[in-house]
Structure formats: C-alpha cells, structure tokens
C-alpha cells in the first residue's frame, strides 16, 4: 500500500507500533511493581531507577510501562465504538437525505457543539466506579459526531455519482450499494476519522485521570501525572516525575497525527505533491508559485521541468 511509502505515515506507524508493543508486553518487562513502595524516595534518574522514583519510592518507568496498556486499550475501544456510531449515522444520513438526514445531522451537530470534556466529567463523576472500559464507552458516546459529519458530506457527494446511479439502474439492493459501492470510497475518510477519535480518546482519558475523575488505582499516564501534581512534584523540582509521561502522550499523539497526514496526502494529491516535491523543488531552485501544483513524476519529467 502506498501509505507505507509515505515517510510521514511510516514514521507515525513505527512510533505507534513501539507503544502498542509496550502495551502488550508491558506487565512482563516492567522492572518493578509500579505500586510497590520503596525506600528511595524522590530520587532523580539513576541506573537502578531509569526515570527516578516518586515520593513514596515507586519506580516511575514501571508506572509508565504498565500504564501504556490502559491508555492504548481505552483509545482503541473508544475509537472503534465511536467510528461504528459515526459510520452508521453519517452514511445513513448522507445516503437517505430528506427528513431522516435533517434529524440525524441535527443530532450530530448538537453533539459537536456541546463541550465534550465537561459532559464526560459529569457522566463519569456520577458513575459509582469509572473503570477503563466505562470511560471508553462515555468517550465514544460523546466523540462520534465529528466523524459522522465528515462522512455525511462525503456520502452526499458520492450519492449521485455515475457509478452509484449505474448500480441503482442495475437494480442492486440498497445494502449492496451502501456496502459495495459507497463504503469502499469512504475507507480513507473512515480511517482518518478513526485515528482522530483515538487521539481525542487518549487525550480525554489522560485528562480525566489527571483531574481525578476516574479510578486512580489503575495505572495510566494520567494517573502518574495526577500523583505528581498532588504530591507537589512541581515545587520540589522533580521533573522526572511529570516530564516523561507528557512526552509519551505527545509521542503517541504525534504518531497518530502523522499517520493522518499520510492519509490526507493520500487522498488529496495537491498536499502530497507539495510535500513530496518540496525537497526536489528546493534543489532545482524552483520557488513554488501560486496557481501551480508542482508535480514530480520521477527524474525524466523532472528534467523537463515542472508543469
């Protein structure tokens, strides 16, 4: 697939694969039990504790490694659930048109405008015990609307294309038109919506854990930051306690955004050519002017110049 050949997407996938691997094997490779209280309190990074210790002597590296699983599982589950909802709502509303479309897009617009985080907070705060999967469910219920909106627009534009008309004229049943004619053309949009939702889910989950809405007994990166903040790590200058967790979040977020850029460039050739040929243009001392989409078709056409 040409997505793998896109350097941005490839870089993103490598970073993501690393964290997925940690999520799977984390519990076995963590050097210490993350909750185990030890004698070395608030130690900076050392050979024994690569990322230092907390004020109760817990090993921070172990907390991060073990916590990866929680972050990844919630991101994945919430992403899958939200994508399913958004595909159902978006494709149906784009394909049906009429009153059904009006109602469905009204609902998704309402969910888009209502601020999600406060809504998640009041739901999660009322639940007796908010574990990982519950949180994933709540995040999915509040985070599907963006994908549905994009999918609806895309379906609308596909609905009256010739190939769909032809399928309809051939008397294909509606489910076949939706699943075999329209859906394959939505793959890229669905994929990028899924990745966007996973980013949203991970950020929300970590934020919820950080402000103490969710259960603080299971480890994830937000829990690490929660304890760092409530134990005054900032004032004590214990940077090793809060910096690595944030870098992990940013790394996963960046990797997902990079994959999404790859998909964007895959779908929109203008962006792709800009990105791919920027270096070539610079070497050839050609300044990209407005009105022209630089196209690079291998060395042969590059010698002839840019169209």
């Amino acid at each position: 697939m040409s997505l793998v050949r896109n350097p941005k997407a490839l870089a993103g996938m490598i970073i993501l694969a690393f964290f997925v691997l940690i999520a799977i094997i984390g519990p076995w490779i963590a050097p210490y039990n993350p909750s185990k209280v030890g004698p070395d309190s608030l130690q900076p990074p050392s050979p024994a504790h690569w990322l230092g210790t907390t004020n109760t002597g817990q090993d921070i590296l172990s907390q991060l490694i073990v916590g990866t699983q929680g972050v990844m599982v919630v991101g994945l589950v919430a992403g899958i659930l939200a994508t399913i909802i958004s595909v159902i709502v978006g494709v149906t509303s784009g394909f049906l048109g009429g009153l059904g479309d009006e109602v469905l897009s009204l609902i998704s617009n309402v969910f888009l405008v209502i601020p999600a985080l406060p809504l998640i907070i009041i739901i999660a705060g009322l639940l007796p015990s908010a574990g990982g999967l519950t949180i994933a469910l709540v995040i999915a219920l509040t985070g599907w609307a963006w994908g549905a909106r994009v999918l609806r627009a895309q379906t609308l534009s596909l609905r009256n294309r010739d190939f769909v008309e032809a399928a309809r004229a051939n008397g294909e049943p509606m489910w076949r038109i939706i699943f075999f004619e329209i859906m394959p053309n939505l793959t890229a949009v669905i994929a990028s919506g899924f990745i966007g939702t996973v980013i949203f889910a991970i950020l929300s989950e970590v934020t919820l854990a950080f402000i103490g809405v969710t259960s603080i007994s299971t480890w994830n990166w937000g829990t690490v930051l929660f304890w760092a903040q409530s134990s005054q790590a900032l004032v004590q200058g214990a940077w090793w306690w809060f910096v690595p967790a944030g870098l992990c979040i940013a790394a996963v977020g960046t990797s997902l955004t990079l994959i999404n850029f790859g998909i964007d460039e895959f779908v929109n050739p203008r962006l792709r050519n800009t990105a791919a040929s920027a270096g070539i243009l610079r070497r050839k001392k050609i300044r990209a002017r407005i009105g022209f989409t630089p196209v690079y078709r291998g060395e042969a056409s590059a010698k002839k110049g840019m169209s």
Partner: protein, 326 residues
C-alpha cells in the same frame, strides 16, 4: 438573514438539548448518589440540601418525571441551580457568577489570540510552501498533540519554580481585594500571563496546520492565478484573494472546535488554581459536588453556544454566499 435565523433556531434547540441531558443524566445512571453523599458528609448536610438533592436526582418518589422536569425548568429560569456543598451554603449560581468573569477574560482573550496568530502563521506557511518554513510543521504537529494541562505543568516548572518570573498559581495577589483599581488589574494580568501563554501555545498549532493546508488548496484556484496574472501586489493576492477564502473552513472549524478548546482550558485553570469556572469544577469533582458540576456544565455549554453564534455572524459577514442563500 434567513441563514442567521436558522442558526439561532439550531442554537436554541442545542441549548434545550443540553439542559434536558443535564436533567436526565443523573436519572439514567445506576446507584443512589444521594445516600452515598449523605454517608460521605456524615450528617453535615442540612435537610434542605438533601431535599434539593432528591429533586435533582429524581429520587423524589411523590412526583412524576414530567413534574420534576417542569420544576427543574422553573428553577433554572429563576437562576436557581441548587446549593453547592463545597461552598456550603452558597448557591451554585453565586459561585458561578464569581468565577465566570475570570474564565471569560482568560479563555476568551487567549483563545482568540491563538486563533488569530495561528491563522496568520498558517497563511504565511501555506503561501511559502516548499521553503524552509515547512520544517516548522513537525514542531506545530508535536505541539498540537500535547495536552493543555501538561504544557501548563511545564510552564509552571520553568517560569514559576525554576526561574520564578511569573506566579505559579492564583488569579491575583493574595494581599489585594478584587476591585477595579489599577493595582489589582495589573496583578490580575500578571497572574494570567502564564496560563494565557499555555493556552495560546497549545491551541495555535491546530490553527496553523488547518490554515496552511487550506492555503495550499486555495492558492491553486483559478481566481488566485488570475489575480496574480493581473499583476496585483503579492500582499493583496495573498490576503484578499487566497486567505480570505481559505479562512472560511477555519472559522466554521473555530465554532466547532470551541467545545474541545474550552475543555482543555478548563483543565489549564485547574493546573494554575486560577479562580475561574474550571477550578470551581475541579473542586466540585474533588468533593463529588453534583449540583455544582451540573451548573458548571450548563454555564459552559451556554457560553460555548453564544461564542458559536458570534462565529456564525462573522462567517456570514465574510462569506456573502450565506447572506444570499434565501
């Protein structure tokens, strides 16, 4: 005009939906939160508060859901959001009136600043695509993936603790009383600098990336080529032809992502113990203060709706097509 009326209708509907959601959420969730609260407070809750809680959670068995719903609306219209436990016996409405101006100033100014700066930078990056400026994109990308609150923690660690240039928490100097004196306003601005910087830095990257991609797409349009061919000054083509059209998705995106940004800024307030609505929400979470949490949710949603409406007016002003739709 018709466009704006339709949007107004939509916002009224959304407000109704949010208020109704707020009413039903506690009723749909399992468990008896009131009993657990009474236990938690060991009899420190007055009977008044317990009664209002029972009404809030729909545990008042003498009435139907419909009657409860009407009472709820009646209370809301009188500005009665119940009584907060955290700030007992202050009503929720009063707590929010005190904290809302802080949030409006901080979040309002820094969100708009982030949007304007990010859009301008995006215009520049999109126009000069394929130059060294493109190497700024991965940096923007990285910043857009950082959670707001973590950037806040880093800002405190660097500028509040390591090099104590800015105060690390609070909204004003503890020795001052809130007033409109020059000294107080100065202190408020000084305390707001670090949280505002955090919000601008976290939100700016998203706008840069979105605007840059739209500029790349728009600047290949024929009307931009024609404007360039006519020999108009480059600045005019860039802002008057390309940017003016490229900014439209950003503005509708601004309206739609406001809910997300506001969520992030609330957490920023929590990190900085800034006396705004986010910090109130933080304390409400800590003490399971449901009336306050729900009041905060409503007030945030309504503010976001108003901001969305303003963005729609701006959109209608910039894009004549929406005005001629009728």
């Amino acid at each position: 005009m018709r466009f704006l009326l339709r949007r107004m209708g939509f916002y009224l509907f959304t407000a109704w939906a949010a208020i109704t959601l707020n009413f039903f959420i506690p009723r749909l969730l399992p468990g008896d939160p009131v009993q657990s609260l009474i236990n938690k407070y060991h009899g420190r809750l007055s009977t008044d508060a317990i009664d209002s809680l029972r009404v809030l959670f729909g545990l008042n068995t003498h009435t139907t859901v419909w009657q409860d719903y009407l009472t709820y609306w009646g209370n809301l219209l009188h500005g009665d959001f119940g009584i907060s436990f955290t700030y007992f016996p202050t009503p929720v409405a009063e707590v929010m009136v005190q904290s809302l101006p802080w949030t409006l100033m901080l979040v309002g100014i820094s969100t708009i600043l982030g949007f304007v700066l990010g859009t301008l930078a995006g215009v520049g990056l999109g126009w000069r695509r394929g130059t060294w400026l493109d190497s700024l994109l991965p940096v923007a990308n990285f910043f857009s993936a950082i959670p707001y609150f973590w950037l806040g923690l880093i800002a405190i660690a660097i500028f509040g603790v390591a090099l104590p240039i800015f105060p690390a928490s609070g909204g004003y100097d503890g020795g001052l009383l809130p007033s409109f004196s020059l000294e107080f306003i100065g202190s408020a601005i000084y305390h707001a600098a670090l949280p505002a910087l955090t919000i601008v830095l976290s939100s700016v990257a998203g706008w840069i990336l979105g605007m840059r991609n739209m500029m790349v797409t728009v600047s290949s349009e024929d009307y931009v080529t024609v404007a360039q061919a006519k020999g108009l000054p480059e600045r005019r083509v860039m802002f008057g032809y390309a940017a003016r059209n490229a900014v439209l998705p950003s503005i509708s995106g601004f309206a739609l992502s406001l809910g997300f940004i506001v969520g992030g800024t609330l957490v920023t307030e929590m990190v900085f113990s800034y006396p705004g609505i986010g910090y109130v929400l933080f304390q409400a979470i800590g003490s399971k203060d449901y009336p306050l949490m729900q009041g905060v949710f409503l007030i945030i949603t309504l503010s976001v709706l108003v901001a969305n409406m303003v963005a729609d007016f701006a959109y209608a002003f910039l894009d004549p097509r929406t005005r001629q739709e009728a």
